[in-house]
C-alpha cells in the first residue's frame, strides 16, 4: 500500500533531514528538500519527486516559462495544479533533485491526453538553461522518464520538443528510440540566429496488443 510506504518514509524523515535506520542518508532522499525522490525515478545522481509547496522557493529552476514569478504565485501554482490524487492528474509535475547537492535543479511535466498520448517538458534552471551542463541534466531526466512513461504509465506515444541545436539532448532521445516526427522551421530564436524546433516521438507499437 502506498500509504504505509509513505508512512515509513516519513518516519525516516526528521526535521527536514532524512536519517535512515542506519543513521546514514539513503540514496534518493533529499536532505534539504521536504520529500524523498521516487526510488524508481532516480539514477544515483538525479532524482524526481512530487512537488511540495516549499518548492516555490526554487521556481526559477523548475518553471517552464522564462518570465519571473513571485513566490506566492509559484506556491499557488503548485497547490492549485494538484487536483487529482493517485497519480491520475492528466499533467504530472515533478521536481528534479540533484542527489549530490540535494538542490532542486529543475522540473519535469508529463502531459497526458486520453491516458494514451503524452508530451514531456523538462526544464533546468541556472545561468545557461540551454547550455551543455543543463542539457546533460535534461538528458539524464529523459532517460528516467521515457521508460517509466511508456512502461509503467502504459502510454502509447510520447513526444518531446527539442531545439535542433541541443545535440546532447537529441542524442539521448535517439538512444532511447525516439525519432524526429516533426521539424518546425525557425521556431526558436537564439542570440546567434534562428534554429528549427524538433518534435521527437516514441511510439509503443505493442500498445493495446493482448499478446504484448
Amino acid at each position: 500500500m502506498i500509504e504505509s510506504g509513505l508512512g515509513r518514509e516519513m518516519e525516516l524523515y526528521h526535521g527536514g533531514r532524512h536519517i535512515g535506520s542506519s543513521g546514514v542518508r539513503e540514496i534518493g532522499m533529499s536532505e534539504t528538500g521536504a520529500w524523498p525522490v521516487a526510488g524508481y525515478l532516480q539514477d544515483g545522481r538525479y532524482g524526481l519527486r512530487a512537488p511540495v509547496p516549499e518548492d516555490a522557493d526554487y521556481v526559477t529552476t523548475w518553471h517552464e516559462e522564462p518570465f519571473p514569478m513571485t513566490l506566492e504565485a509559484a506556491r499557488d501554482l503548485l497547490i492549485q495544479q494538484e487536483t487529482i490524487p493517485w497519480g491520475n492528474n492528466p499533467a504530472i509535475r515533478l521536481m528534479i533533485v540533484d542527489l549530490v547537492t540535494d538542490a532542486v535543479v529543475g522540473g519535469a511535466i508529463v502531459e497526458r491526453d486520453d491516458n494514451r498520448v503524452s508530451k514531456l517538458v523538462i526544464t533546468v534552471g541556472g545561468p545557461d538553461p540551454t547550455g551543455e551542463a543543463a542539457q546533460r541534466v535534461r538528458a539524464a531526466v529523459l532517460r528516467l522518464l521515457v521508460p517509466w512513461v511508456m512502461g509503467e504509465l502504459s502510454l502509447m506515444t510520447t513526444v518531446i520538443d527539442v531545439p535542433a541545436d541541443e545535440t546532447i539532448l537529441i542524442d539521448a532521445a535517439k538512444d532511447l528510440g525516439m525519432v524526429e516526427a516533426v521539424r518546425l522551421r525557425e521556431h526558436i530564436l537564439r542570440p546567434s540566429g534562428r534554429v528549427d524546433l524538433l518534435m521527437l516521438e516514441l511510439v509503443n507499437r505493442q500498445w493495446g496488443r493482448s499478446d504484448a
Binding site: 522551421r185 521556431h187 530564436l189 518534435m199
Partner: protein
C-alpha cells in the same frame, strides 16, 4: 464595422464578444459535417472561453470573429494559440460555423487577414498548424496559404475506433511574404 481589426474583400475580423458565445454554441448543436469531434457545448462554456481572451498584458491566445461585410454577426473564428513571445511563434486555427459557408474561399480570406495580423501587427516570425490526417480540405487550404508539411505525430487522435496521425504544418514569415506576392500578382485588386 464596429471594432474592426482587419478588413478583407468579403469578410472582416473583430475581437470576439460575449454575445458571440451563443452563435458558436448553437453551431456545435447543428453541425452537419464530421470534420472534427462533435460535442454539444454550452453557452456558459463558450462565454468563459471568450472571457479568457480579455487581458491587459500580452495574451497567450487571440481569437477573432469572422463577419460578412455589412453585418457584425459572427460566422466563424480565426485564432492564434500557444503564442510564444520570446521565440515569436504561434499556432493558428480557424473554422466557419456553418457548413454552407465552407468551400467558398471565405475561410481562406479570413485566414489571410489573421496571417497579416500575426506577421505584420504582432511581428511574429513563424506559425504552425495541426490538422487530423483525414481533414483533407483543411490540409489543402493550409498548403494553398503557403504552409508546408513539417511532419506528422503518430496515432495522435482516435477516430471511428482507429488511431490517426496529426499532420503538422509550418509557415515562416518568408513563406507568407512569397505566398502574398503570388496572390497579389494573380489578383491585381488585392492591396
Amino acid at each position: 464595422m464596429r471594432n474592426a481589426v482587419k478588413i478583407g474583400e468579403r469578410v472582416w475580423l473583430r475581437p470576439l464578444e460575449l454575445a458571440d458565445a451563443r452563435a458558436i454554441a448553437l453551431a456545435g448543436h447543428v453541425e452537419t459535417e464530421r470534420v472534427s469531434r462533435r460535442v454539444p457545448t454550452s453557452v456558459i462554456a463558450f462565454e468563459r472561453w471568450v472571457r479568457g481572451f480579455a487581458t491587459d498584458g500580452a495574451p497567450d491566445a487571440i481569437a477573432f470573429a469572422v463577419c460578412w461585410h455589412g453585418d457584425d454577426t459572427c460566422i466563424g473564428t480565426v485564432r492564434l494559440g500557444q503564442i510564444d513571445w520570446v521565440n515569436r511563434t504561434a499556432e493558428t486555427g480557424s473554422g466557419l460555423l456553418s457548413a454552407e459557408d465552407r468551400g467558398r474561399g471565405i475561410g481562406t480570406e479570413a485566414k489571410h487577414l489573421l496571417l497579416e495580423y500575426a506577421f505584420v501587427d504582432l511581428g511574429l516570425h513563424a506559425l504552425n498548424a495541426m490538422v487530423y490526417e483525414g481533414n483533407t480540405r483543411s490540409a489543402a487550404a493550409l498548403e494553398k496559404q503557403g504552409y508546408r508539411l513539417a511532419g506528422r505525430l503518430t496515432a495522435d487522435v482516435q477516430r471511428d475506433g482507429a488511431f490517426r496521425d496529426t499532420l503538422v504544418f509550418d509557415l515562416t514569415r518568408e513563406d507568407w511574404e512569397r505566398a502574398r506576392e503570388r496572390r497579389r500578382s494573380s489578383h491585381s485588386d488585392i492591396p
